[in-house]
Symmetry: C2
Subunit: 209 residues, 2 copies
């Protein structure tokens, strides 16, 4: 009865080789560069073999991004939760940013590209939702702890996400020389700090410098 297991293991192995080759192309050169034929050449299989493991190119890249984003998520969930929920929020935002800017093509595909057709029928499994759940918990902690002013936790978490996404997506899309003003190196931190400040119950102490 170990035969089918070995077969499945071999199949999984090929699947991972495909994903590795695709990840390499994707991370370095983007979606357009991920070509069935280039993947096939890299793993020394024929292009059609890929279709035994993935429905089509979109399915492949989606599996790739879901998996890699899942790793970010587990990193978010694994790292220790600071006592101060505001510190926690800052930490989450920076981890999110670091991932996005390290894997801009992943981020672009997941949050800046409209899917062709209906996908992720069970919306809860989408890694983005789980990541958002973590952020929401942090915001809820800040509200309960009195650090944030009262209000809709969902709305505040949403606004934080939107602000981060705005800065990140523009950084990914536009080259620095195309911006209307010089881009400060800590732009995302600024935006994050600004948004947080808008939700604080009391203005931050003035002893800052």
């Amino acid at each position: 009865m170990g035969i089918t297991e070995r077969r499945e293991r071999e199949k999984e192995e090929v699947r991972n080789k495909i994903l590795d080759a695709a990840r390499d192309l994707f991370a370095r050169e983007g979606y357009e560069a991920v070509t069935m034929r280039r993947i096939a050449e890299a793993i020394e299989y024929s292009p059609t073999t890929i279709y035994n493991h993935f429905e089509d190119k979109d399915d492949l890249v989606r599996c790739l991004c879901d998996g890699d984003f899942g790793q970010l998520l587990s990193a978010l969930q694994t790292q220790p939760v600071p006592a101060d929920p505001v510190v926690w929020i800052r930490q989450l935002g920076l981890a999110y940013t670091r991932f996005a800017l390290s894997f801009p093509n992943h981020y672009r595909f997941m949050f800046m590209t409209a899917p062709d057709i209906e996908v992720h029928e069970d919306h809860e499994s989408f890694p983005g939702h789980l990541a958002f759940g973590v952020l929401r918990r942090a915001v809820a902690g800040a509200v309960e702890g009195g650090r944030f002013r009262a209000g809709s936790v969902d709305t505040m978490a949403l606004h934080l996400w939107i602000a981060l996404h705005g800065a990140i997506s523009l950084l990914i899309t536009m080259r620095p020389e195309h911006w209307p003003v010089p881009v400060p190196p800590d732009l995302v931190e600024q935006v994050l700090e600004n948004s947080i400040r808008g939700f604080l119950r009391e203005p931050p102490p003035q002893e800052k410098r």
Copy 2:
């Protein structure tokens, strides 16, 4: 001497027919649907004719977006400037949003897609810069008028733009059912108002409601 003028006029005419056909395809079905052959069929010319008027497909779509975005810009510059700079900022943000959500493919191409190669060598002519210039003037007015707290006008305008872009780009990309929380219909207005509030010198009066 009217001959060359007539020739240029005819050439311009064909160019406009190309742009019109392309705009129709682009606005309705997006970048991928804009096909040299479909454009050619629509205008009853051969596909290669398009290359007499545009360098390649990217050049075509870029000209299209630049032109259409230029119209938004002139609308921004034409409309009367309110006495209250904060009202002005709100007005600019809403006009920007209306354009983006009315022409999501235009917006996607201009602000959510990385250009393949160097483009727009003279950065000042990029319509986005001019639009940002208007916003900066409005913010400067708010600072000078004492409505906004003191600080870098560039930074405040940048943060406003980023917040708007974050909300708009997510609305364009994600279908409502994929959001982690229900999307309020006035999301962009919320975000805009929130950002403005963060820059106000004094908290807004409480007579609201």
